[in-house]
């Protein structure tokens, strides 16, 4: 007869707790770093995509289509295994000695997510009627000042909800980094499972961690939205 006895003590103390904790820290580091970089990169790509320069526009478009339309897992493998063929031996040796796993995962997550973020920012800006820009200009604001005072504050407000989605996706997608040996939350949960066969406890812990992480990210962005940007939720 198959029976499963729960033993929560294995994940609340001792060695396995330490593993899960270090997994959590790695997930936090990987997510936080990639979120910041993806946002900045996304901003740059969005500006390029809307610019009057044809080359910049075309480059941004190609970037978007390429990275939005290929699976993240393939991109992670590409940066980790594929970059070996392109980079010179000296750099490869250095990367191999220092451990390239974390960096490869961060690069893949950043680039993949930045493509989505760029489109969200662009659609936010485009959703502001162009008459507002014209009105601002005729009221004597310069182009940059019009952007700063009139267009962007409204665009950012519109962009916040989809941005939260992208940040949440990134935090959860970071679990794919385990395929190249980054010891993040899911990796450690699986590790605990293969040592103890208490997969249920380990993955419940991982589930709770991702849930809390997602709620915290949502709350942080909302607080930033309200306190710093002075945007209030519509009733």
């Amino acid at each position: 007869m198959l029976t499963y006895t729960f033993d929560w003590s294995i994940i609340t103390s001792g060695k396995y707790f330490d593993w899960l904790l270090s997994g959590l820290l790695t997930t936090l580091k990987l997510s936080a770093l990639s979120i910041v970089l993806a946002f900045l990169l996304g901003l740059v790509i969005a500006v390029m995509r809307m610019s009057h320069n044809r080359v910049a526009r075309w480059l941004a478009h190609a970037y978007l289509e390429f990275f939005r339309n290929t699976p993240l897992l393939v991109q992670i493998f590409f940066w980790y295994f594929g970059s070996y063929k392109i980079l010179p031996t000296v750099i490869n040796d250095w990367l191999n000695k220092t451990g390239f796993e974390f960096a490869a995962a961060a690069i893949a997550l950043t680039i993949y997510t930045s493509a989505f973020i760029a489109e969200d920012i662009r659609s936010g800006v485009l959703s502001i009627p162009k008459e507002q820009m014209e009105a601002a200009r005729s009221a004597g604001f310069s182009y940059l000042r019009s952007m700063q005072y009139i267009i962007l504050p409204q665009a950012v407000r519109i962009t916040i909800p989809p941005l939260i989605n992208q940040f949440l996706n990134l935090a959860k997608n970071s679990s794919l980094a385990m395929t190249i040996g980054v010891m993040e939350m899911t990796y450690q949960a699986r590790q605990v499972e293969s040592y103890t066969f208490k997969g249920f406890e380990a993955f419940t812990a991982a589930t709770v961690v991702y849930l809390v992480l997602s709620i915290v990210i949502t709350a942080l962005v909302n607080i930033y939205n309200e306190k710093v940007l002075n945007v209030h939720k519509a009733a």
Binding site: M1, L2, T3, Y4, F81, Y84, N92, D93, N96, G99, F100, E101, T179, I180, G181, Y187, R190, Q191, E193, S194, Y195, T196, F197, G199, F200, T204, V208
Partner: protein, 271 residues
């Protein structure tokens, strides 16, 4: 929030108990259904891999379960599993038996039942030629293996200063070795021999004679599935007696293969 978590845990509990109630006598159930569902490896020559010509999964493990199914008078359905997924799959009745290079150990035996040892090997390393002479050469180095295997736990015990990187499966671990991302890949010798035999530039790699553990393989079955366990044990003992087991070994590992391994074990009760 609290309610939600309670609800989630309860739902999961119900699933686990429901599944538990279903796990009965595999021998009788499989005979009734006319099919035995086997969890096997599909990229690990010569234990279980896809044959290029027939596009079927073949190998040492497969020949054993085929013999068992033949004796039961049922068909075999092969389901590829990974080292990490095979035990949950068995417990949740997605498969009836594990024939996937699984090492017998006390911890696993608490959760599932093993047959007698049907293959015996030891854990070694595969490295770039000439880089590793003794275990000292691997201290503090990065060593690759596959997730969910015992190989990982053994190497952490033997070389505590090394960093163990667990990849999804052995092909990726070996790719990491080829690119210098790890200094060695470690697992059972027979698996390493299979990787080396398939490697495109095999003269650049070697398996130094550094044994760090014994690895007896067993077929895995659900805990307490006594009728089935007894039947499997009886069958493989008969295969040993009739010489069929030795024939299967020689077919996959013997002098006519690229492995040239000697059969240094016998299938016996109590092992």
């Amino acid at each position: 929030m609290k309610k939600l978590v309670t609800l989630f845990i309860m739902a999961a509990l119900v699933t686990v108990t429901a599944k538990a109630a279903l796990a009965g006598d595999t021998l009788a159930d499989a005979k009734k259904k006319g099919v035995l569902v086997v969890g096997c490896k599909d990229s690990l020559p010569p234990f279980g891999y896809v044959d290029e010509k027939s596009r079927q999964i073949v190998g040492y493990d497969i020949d054993f379960v085929n013999a068992i199914a033949k004796k039961m008078g049922v068909k075999v359905e092969l389901k590829p599993v990974t080292s990490a997924s095979r035990m949950p799959q068995l417990q949740e009745s997605h498969i009836d038996i594990i024939a996937a290079t699984m090492t017998k150990n006390a911890e696993r035996a608490k959760v599932i039942d093993f047959s007698h040892t049907y293959f015996f090997t030891g854990q070694k390393f595969i490295t770039k030629k000439g880089t590793v002479k003794s275990l000292k050469d691997l201290e503090g180095k990065r060593i690759g293996t596959a997730k969910g295997s015992t190989s990982e736990q053994n190497v952490k015990k033997t070389l505590p200063t090394s960093t163990v990187l667990s990849f999804d499966d052995y092909p990726q671990a070996f790719l990491a070795l080829q690119q210098g991302k790890v200094a060695a890949v470690t697992t059972d010798e027979a698996i390493l021999a299979g990787i080396l035999a398939k490697a495109p530039n095999k003269d650049q790699f070697e398996i130094p004679n550094l044994l760090i553990s014994d690895e007896p393989y067993g077929l895995g079955m659900r805990k307490g599935d006594t009728n089935f366990v007894n039947f499997v044990n009886k069958t493989i003992l008969e295969m040993e007696k009739s010489g069929e087991a030795a024939k299967i070994f020689n077919k996959w590992f013997g002098p006519d293969t690229q492995f040239h391994l000697q059969r240094n074990f016998k299938i016996a009760a109590g092992k």
